[in-house]
């Protein structure tokens, strides 16, 4: 058994809005092992970004609240730390890469200064030491001529290069956990391939555990060992990447897998999931997917399904796995190439 470095137990996050309380994350259980890479997939509004921001405590304090649950980082509950204690962890032990490299860098500071900022704060390096380390980091993330480019400003870099800088900043203090929130969504395919390649390479070199947040199942298959599928603020299915792709159990996962066109299939109509995600202002009482699920039963509408263990690593929250439920086969379109 590997060591759990991060553990989320029954985390509930709500936002207070004029319209009422939005329950964005509802009872999420997750864990991250040392050095592994876990993907959280889901559509916009499924709560994946909120989950990751609650780990970093980056949610607006005035309007949001972690209502319940604990977030254990090496045994310490992050939700109970003071802001000052959290500052010591944020950026040094746990760091984050944001989606948009255009807006996550400060346009008025040189790239070098931005990398050195964290190093100087967390590791008490002298100016020269920090500079040397910054140059090494830029070299590590594949930026040519780091000695010169360290003095340049973000606008002098292209999108892919900026994302490399963002990764360099995130890795500056050798974090134990790296949260990557849609790290390649704003990038072009060929640049995305470069960045994914870099992240895989860096993970092997540094042994950092990665939480990858994305909506792109292709990226998940490329980078992650484990997957958690989120829908309507809850985790509906989690397992190793192989389990979730080749033996999916939740109808939402089936829907996700089958609504993507396959490059090698001649199928003319895509399997779309009808309808839209639930409004979390008053989330449904039962399974959040019930309204869009073709297999929904009365019980799905009335009661939240329990989590069923398919294997020791593969868990699904769906009434179909109850022994009293009818046997349902996943649609053919959900079967990924190598499905057994």
């Amino acid at each position: 058994m590997m060591k759990k470095i991060l553990e989320l137990n029954n985390v509930n996050v709500s936002f207070h809005t004029f319209a009422g309380e939005v329950k964005a994350v509802r009872g999420v259980n997750l864990h991250l092992e040392k050095g592994e890479s876990l993907a959280i997939v889901g559509e916009s509004g499924s709560g994946k970004s909120v989950t990751s921001k609650s780990i970093m405590r980056l949610l607006p304090e005035k309007t949001s609240e972690i209502k319940e649950g604990e977030i254990l980082f090496e045994g310490r509950d992050l939700t109970k730390l003071s802001n000052r204690e959290m500052e010591k962890i944020r950026g040094s032990e746990i760091s984050m890469i944001f989606q948009d490299p255009m807006t996550s860098l400060n346009p008025t500071m040189t790239v070098g200064k931005q990398i050195m900022e964290g190093l100087r704060k967390h590791q008490n390096l002298s100016k020269n030491e920090a500079k040397e380390r910054a140059i090494n980091l830029l070299k590590l993330v594949g930026i040519p001529n780091p000695e010169l480019r360290i003095n340049e400003y973000p606008h002098q870099f292209s999108g892919g290069m900026r994302q490399r800088v963002v990764i360099a900043i995130a890795l500056a203090c050798n974090p134990k956990v790296l949260i990557a929130d849609e790290p390649t969504t704003a990038l072009d395919v060929t640049i995305q391939a470069q960045i994914l390649d870099l992240m895989r390479d860096l993970q092997q070199k540094t042994g950092t555990a990665i939480i990858l947040i994305t909506h792109d199942l292709g990226v998940v298959a490329n980078l992650s060992q484990r997957v958690a599928v989120m829908y309507g603020g809850t985790i509906v299915e989690t397992g190793t990447t192989d389990e979730v792709f080749y033996n999916p159990k939740h109808p939402y996962t089936w829907g996700l897998l089958s609504s993507m066109p396959k490059l090698n299939s001649a199928e003319k109509e895509l399997m779309a999931i009808p309808g839209t995600p639930p409004n979390l202002l008053n989330p449904p009482k039962g399974c959040p997917f019930a309204a869009r699920c073709p297999y929904a039963m009365q019980v799905c509408v009335d009661h939240m399904p329990d989590v069923t263990d398919v294997t020791s690593t593969h868990k699904t929250a769906c009434w179909l796995l109850d022994e009293r439920a009818p046997q349902v086969e996943p649609p053919e379109a959900a079967l990924v190439g190598g499905a057994r």
Binding site: E43, S44, S158, G159, G160, M161, D188, V189, T190, I191, Q192, A193, Q194, L196, D197, H215, D216, L217, G218, V219, V220, A221, N222, T241, D242, F245, Y246, G255, L256, L257, S259, M260, P261, K262, L263, A266, K268, E269, L270, M271, A272, I273, P274, T276, V336, G337, G338
Partner: protein, 334 residues
């Protein structure tokens, strides 16, 4: 996808669109692009951001004036001097669906007025009753209902807004629709809904699409033929199955191998061609073949000579020196 005896709907010849970007710098967003679109087909146009695919679409429909070349729609020139009336008749037959469903609908207009704007301009409805009937009919065609007609855009989700955009395009009964990244702002499960709708409408109404996108797997799914653009040029054009099975141009090959597939085993075993570097600036593009700075197969000739646009196989066009037979025989002789 019958190759024989197809009627050309649109002909694009040596289309150029250059922008002046201060001083004497000229950005050649689209440079010598030629292709045909046949009646009833979907032509996909793919490429990375900045390759000129959207500019191509916008120049075809005359949102931009072309710098050079011409666009012929059913034998008539789209560009050039035109009276208001002539322009209007073109506009009725060519419509556009935009990328961002949040920005392309006027937030102060109701859905019925948004959809009926074209109907009003072209005088397609005799009276108010007929106008409303058409609006209702259009709403139902795109999978919304009558009750939605008097609402405002902010009351709809992204997928629904894109359906409204489609209804607006259909309102004037066009023959040809340019869809500029119609699904990239939507979630995966919603994307499939919109793509299915577009394909259904095409079948029912015999529409012709130019589908512009950067998502290669979706483009393959919806298109009969696909053109690949790089830095203002089309580098390859072929039937979509053929293009994906046997890409000829090194850029197409790299682009295809870069798409992550939702299949872990395949991802683990796949050999990826990872292109180095970034897109060069279109203000000072490389000489000769524009892809040569990132091309794994670049030769000396690529820097000095523009590659010819040639038919490497039947219906499969490519602009690359690797497939230039004259050049290859020359090389062998040396």
């Amino acid at each position: 996808m019958a190759v024989v005896e197809r009627e050309k709907l649109l002909e694009v010849k040596n289309l150029k669109k250059h922008f002046n970007v201060g001083k004497n710098a000229v950005l050649k967003a689209v440079d010598n692009v030629s292709f045909d679109i046949y009646k009833g087909e979907t032509l996909g146009l793919v490429g990375e951001s900045g390759c000129g695919k959207s500019t191509t679409g916008r120049t075809i429909i005359r949102l931009y004036e072309a710098t050079g070349g011409n666009v012929t729609f059913e034998g008539e020139d789209v560009h050039g001097k035109k009276s208001r009336k002539e322009l209007k008749s073109f506009n009725r037959r060519m419509q556009m669906i935009f990328q961002d469903p949040y920005a392309s609908l006027n937030p102060r207009m109701t859905i019925k007025d948004i959809i009926a704007e074209g109907i009003d301009i072209h005088g397609l409805a005799k009276n108010d009753k007929e106008r409303m009937e058409r609006v209702y009919e259009l709403l139902e065609t795109v999978g919304l209902n009558r009750a939605h007609a008097s609402r405002y855009p902010h009351e709809f989700s992204g997928g629904q807004r894109q359906r409204i955009g489609i209804a607006r395009a259909l309102a004037v009964d066009p023959d040809f629709i340019i869809a500029d990244e119609p699904i990239s702002a939507l979630d995966v499960s919603i994307q499939a809904q919109v793509v299915n709708l577009m394909m259904k409408l095409q079948k029912e109404r015999g529409l012709t699409y130019l589908f512009i996108a950067h998502d290669l797997s979706m483009v393959k799914h919806i298109s009969d033929r696909v053109g690949v653009m790089y830095l203002g040029n089309i580098v390859e054009l072929a039937a979509s199955d053929e293009l994906y099975e046997e890409p000829l141009h090194p850029y197409t090959q790299a682009l295809l191998s870069a798409i992550p597939v939702p299949d872990p085993e395949m991802e683990r075993s796949r050999e990826r061609i990872i292109l180095e570097g970034d897109l060069p600036s279109p203000i000072s593009p490389p000489s000769g073949c524009r892809f040569r700075t990132r091309c794994p197969h670049a030769m000396d000739v690529c820097a000095s000579k523009d590659p010819k646009w040639m038919e490497a196989r039947e219906g499969h066009w490519v602009a690359c020196h690797l497939y230039d037979n004259e050049l290859n025989t020359e090389n062998k002789q040396q």
